[in-house]
């Protein structure tokens, strides 16, 4: 390790781009599904949830990576849980202070970031064995990969379920024009219910694996 690695070397860039596509935490590693499916009824909830997870993931990865040589392996799960729980408390308090409505809608799912498997999975699989800068990159990559799936699912659920898109700062936008409703179109209420997010994620997986045949499982 004589030479210092460039901050955005090829290897570090790969840490960010991989999770966006063929190593996506939600669709390929199958981590963090609970919150990915449950907070996607409106776009703004999905965006805020993604930012919350991104924040906890990056800071958590950084902290664990800095402490990786000090944590005794027998109690590492408890140490990680305490770090993550403290970060989530910060996120929860900030959300309650600045976006109270969203915080009410997300309800228990903010607290559940603690047990979001993406976070524990990345801390365990990456941050415990890598340097701080690489761990930050990994956190950003996986946080964005998680956010990508959330935004895609939320887009389809909200547009087809209620005909709107709620974007923070712009309010509710009507996407499906009134004229179509007058011709007899109706919102598909089923899209707002839990089962439809599972089906949307399944279709996402289908398209993704179709384009990357090496990811196909043999049952």
């Amino acid at each position: 390790m004589a030479e210092k690695e460039a901050l955005f070397s090829k290897k570090n860039k790969k840490l960010i781009t991989d999770p966006l596509n063929f190593n996506n935490p939600v669709t390929i590693q199958v981590l963090g599904i609970c919150s990915a499916l449950a907070v996607t009824v409106q776009m703004d909830n999905a965006l805020i949830m993604s930012f919350a997870v991104l924040f906890v993931l990056v800071i958590g990865n950084l902290t664990v990576s800095l402490m990786r040589n000090m944590i005794p392996s027998r109690i590492k799960i408890i140490v990680q849980l305490v770090i993550v729980a403290s970060l989530v408390i910060i996120v929860d308090q900030v959300l309650q202070a600045f976006v109270y409505d969203v915080s009410k809608q997300l309800s228990v799912f903010v607290g559940l970031i603690i047990t979001n498997c993406i976070i524990m999975g990345r801390l365990e699989a990456f941050a415990l064995g890598n340097k701080p800068w690489a761990s930050i990159m990994d956190g950003v990559g996986n946080g964005l990969g998680y956010g990508l799936v959330l935004v895609v699912v939320a887009f389809f659920k909200e547009v087809f379920g209620s005909g709107t898109l709620t974007i923070p700062g712009m309010g509710k936008l009507q996407i499906i024009p009134e004229a179509i409703y007058e011709m007899g179109y109706e919102d598909n209420g089923l899209m707002l219910l839990p089962p439809s997010s599972l089906i949307i994620v399944a279709i996402y997986i289908w398209i993704q694996k179709k384009n990357n045949p090496e990811l196909i499982e043999s049952h």
């Binding site: 981590l31 599904i33 849980l81 929860d92 607290g111 499982e217 049952h219």
Partner: protein, 202 residues
Amino acid sequence: MELFNLFIKSAFAENMVFTFFFGMCSYLAVSKTVKTAVGLGAAVIFVLGITVPVNYLLQTYILADGALSWLGPDYAELDLSFLSFIMFIAVIAAMVQLVEMVVEKFAPALYGALGIFLPLIAVNCAILGGSLFMQQKNFAHVGEATVYGLGSGFGWFLAIVLIAAIREKIRYSDVPAPLRGVGMAFILTGLMGLAFLGFLGF
């Protein structure tokens, strides 16, 4: 009778997996065979049945707004509820460890069946989710909290055993290649979720 209603409601109408997606990670990862699914499901019932009432007592006597008034009038104004995440997760991690040790000592056969699943459970969202919902529901006494924990655990058990049975059979079907494995499990869960919506009156 009230308790029985609560049990049925938490197991079916508010099923952890199909209405809230709690514990999906282990639900998808451990549902390949019925045998392991039964083991993990039983461990979840067990741990939920213990941690929900313990966290209920913690919530009522220490964390909630004004809960510390039994210590004296000076403490009546304290509101420690912002600490609930960290306290709940600590209780869960400690309880899982304790349960693991007790089971290993007194029931080696049960430990053989549940043993490898217990550590997984500390980070299962169904467990923390149970405690966080308990916090919102304002149960009247600890019995209700226990029944709620057992009921949600039973609902989770039911879900994972059902999907494992389907996945065992679907191995012989001609699933489109990109959907094999996880993709199909998602679709199956979605369809089962539609059926469970019936309990909500849709």
